[in-house]
């Protein structure tokens, strides 16, 4: 699969690059960021997949998170994909900031209008890793996943639905129980239709109750003053309760720093 280099910048002795390719899952051109640490010149490195939140592109994490220094020090490749397919000419795709463009919710849509292009779940768990493993010095045995907000939801569900695939899973201010919050209900009814049993396989809190696989070790950071926490969009308590019940190890840290969901200052 052909990758086109969009940009390349030297960063902490490694390279922050952006590539574009024709996605077979999403049937459109997609961009992703990839940070290659200095160690990647000499051998394979583990890969962290970072999933961004609502309205983000592949740029937000690269420019705001300041992750390159740590990635360079620890010899980790960081891949930061976009958050949805773009320019698909679907009616209504640009109408809201929390549905459609920039809001793929990491599902494989089943509703007619969206099902051809909105397959972010398969893109993240299958197409993108194959692409990365084939084109970069990536250690395919060592993949981890993390994300922020909608991307936190994405990281949690990808790990829960693929036992053993990821060495670690963590999330910043994740949407933990989308079936029970306005964002999730809007997205799931749009992408998956009104049959709520179809929503369950993309809800981390529900997936935890049915999880069986190698031991997970989940780390979640959440800003205490996050407006979306107060607005009931994130619902970490539901997730913690489900993990406690199912005996899944979680460390949940409520931070004094206010995490603005659309800005990655804390990261």
């Amino acid at each position: 699969m052909a990758l086109t280099l969009v940009s390349s910048n030297k960063c902490f002795d490694g390279f922050q690059k952006v590539f574009e390719h024709d996605s077979t899952e999403l049937k459109c051109k997609m961009r992703f960021g990839i940070y290659l640490p200095p160690k990647a010149e000499g051998g394979k490195c583990p890969v962290l997949y970072w999933l961004s939140g609502l309205t983000c592109t592949e740029q937000n994490f690269i420019t705001k998170a300041g992750s390159q220094q740590e990635a360079a020090e620890h010899g980790i490749i960081i891949v930061s994909p976009d958050t949805s397919p773009r320019g698909c000419n679907i009616e209504g795709e640009d109408e809201s900031w929390d549905f459609g463009t920039g809001a793929g919710f990491y599902v494989n849509a089943t509703e007619d209008q969206w099902k051809v292009n909105y397959r972010m779940y398969s893109y993240i768990t299958e197409e993108l890793p194959h692409l990365i493993n084939s084109n970069f010095p990536a250690d395919s045995e060592r993949m981890s996943i993390s994300g922020h907000s909608m991307g936190g939801h994405g990281a949690l569900i990808c790990a829960l639905k693929n036992p053993g695939k990821y060495k670690s899973v963590s999330a910043f201010a994740p949407i933990c129980n989308p079936m029970q919050c306005p964002w999730g209900q809007k997205a799931f009814s749009g992408y998956l239709g009104s049959d709520k049993s179809k929503w369950e396989s993309y809800d981390a809190t529900v997936l935890v109750s049915a999880y069986s696989g190698p031991q997970l070790d989940i780390l979640i950071d959440q800003g205490r003053d996050d407006q979306f926490l107060a607005a009931g969009q994130l619902l970490p308590d539901n997730f913690i309760a489900a993990c406690t019940e199912k005996k899944i190890p979680v460390v949940f840290r409520l931070q004094q720093v206010c995490i603005l969901i659309l800005s990655l200052v804390f990261v």
């Binding site: 031991q215 070790d217 205490r224 913690i240 993990c243 406690t244 005996k247 899944i248 190890p249 979680v250 460390v251 949940f252 840290r253 409520l254 931070q255 004094q256």
Partner: protein
């Protein structure tokens, strides 16, 4: 002519010797009523090939009753002490065997124990019984904790990495961590700026975990309740970390640059028991905290 008597050999206080992979702290009693000028420590590595251990190293002119000795890791040593006066050196003391395999070894200092604590015979389990000990009836030593039902261990004062584990039951209410030697004995672990601890208490609805220093704690929730807690202390990076060893799970790390050497501390908040395990090599996952 004036004949001086040779001194008697000292007596090594085996119960208070401590070690870590690169060093040992040996302490002894003089063994003499007459003054001694200095002490000499002699040591040799125990080898499987030879039945007799040859003394290969000697440290002379030690003015006090203790000495920190640099050693190589992964070995066993026989260590002796001699007293020296104007007449010459004494016979060798009975030796102490020091192992530098497997981690840091320390003992609990019973002098620091709150009166309500009973210590097991092997010295590594502490019990807080149901009977309330009337403090008024006891002359408390200056060194003992008087409010927090706590005891301090005696860690070898050497920079580098140290690791130990604490075994509890799911409902044990405890404080475990470290403190400076002179931490307030009438204070509670974690409530002042001379101590750091992980605290577990039960509320009517849930388990509550706190990481206390200077009275404040971050807000942390965990879903699996540790029964064996690994504590890792690294002076170089200024980190004190806690782990659920059964799950190889990292729980919390303090980042603090210690101004002085610290000692492990253990406290029980309500009747219960706690066992300290040390002399353990830190598991591999600890390096990633």
């Amino acid at each position: 002519a004036c004949f001086s008597l040779l001194p008697s050999p000292p007596v090594i206080k085996k119960k208070v010797c401590r070690s870590c992979p690169n060093a040992a702290l040996i302490r002894w009693e003089s063994g003499n009523t007459n003054p001694v000028d200095s002490y000499t420590v002699e040591l040799g590595e125990i080898s499987r090939e030879r039945s007799e251990t040859a003394v290969t190293e000697s440290i002379v002119g030690i003015p006090t009753y203790e000495s920190i000795i640099q050693l190589l890791s992964g070995r066993s040593y026989l260590i002796y002490v001699r007293a020296v006066n104007i007449g010459g050196p004494s016979e060798r003391s009975d030796p102490v065997i020091i192992y530098t395999t497997g981690g840091t070894l320390f003992h609990l200092n019973e002098e620091t124990a709150h009166p309500s604590l009973a210590i097991s015979e092997d010295g590594f389990t502490m019990f807080y019984g149901d009977e309330y000990t009337e403090l008024n009836d006891i002359t408390l030593s200056d060194n003992a904790f008087s409010r927090c039902v706590a005891i301090m261990g005696e860690l070898i004062p050497i920079r580098g990495k140290h690791y130990w584990e604490v075994e509890v039951e799911e409902h044990t209410e405890y404080r475990i961590g470290v403190a400076y030697e002179d931490t307030q004995r009438n204070g509670y672990l974690g409530a002042n700026n001379t101590s750091w601890c992980m605290r577990h208490v039960m509320t009517p609805s849930r388990h509550k975990y706190e990481f206390l220093h200077n009275g404040s704690t971050p807000d942390i929730r965990i879903t699996m309740h540790p029964k064996r807690i690994g504590v890792s202390l690294d002076y170089e990076t200024g980190k004190l970390a806690f782990f659920n060893t059964d799950l190889s799970q990292h729980i919390y790390t303090y980042k603090c640059h210690f101004l002085h050497y610290v000692h492990p501390c253990f406290a029980l908040e309500k009747p219960g028991a706690l066992t300290v395990h040390n002399g353990i090599e830190a598991p591999e996952y600890i390096t990633f905290s």
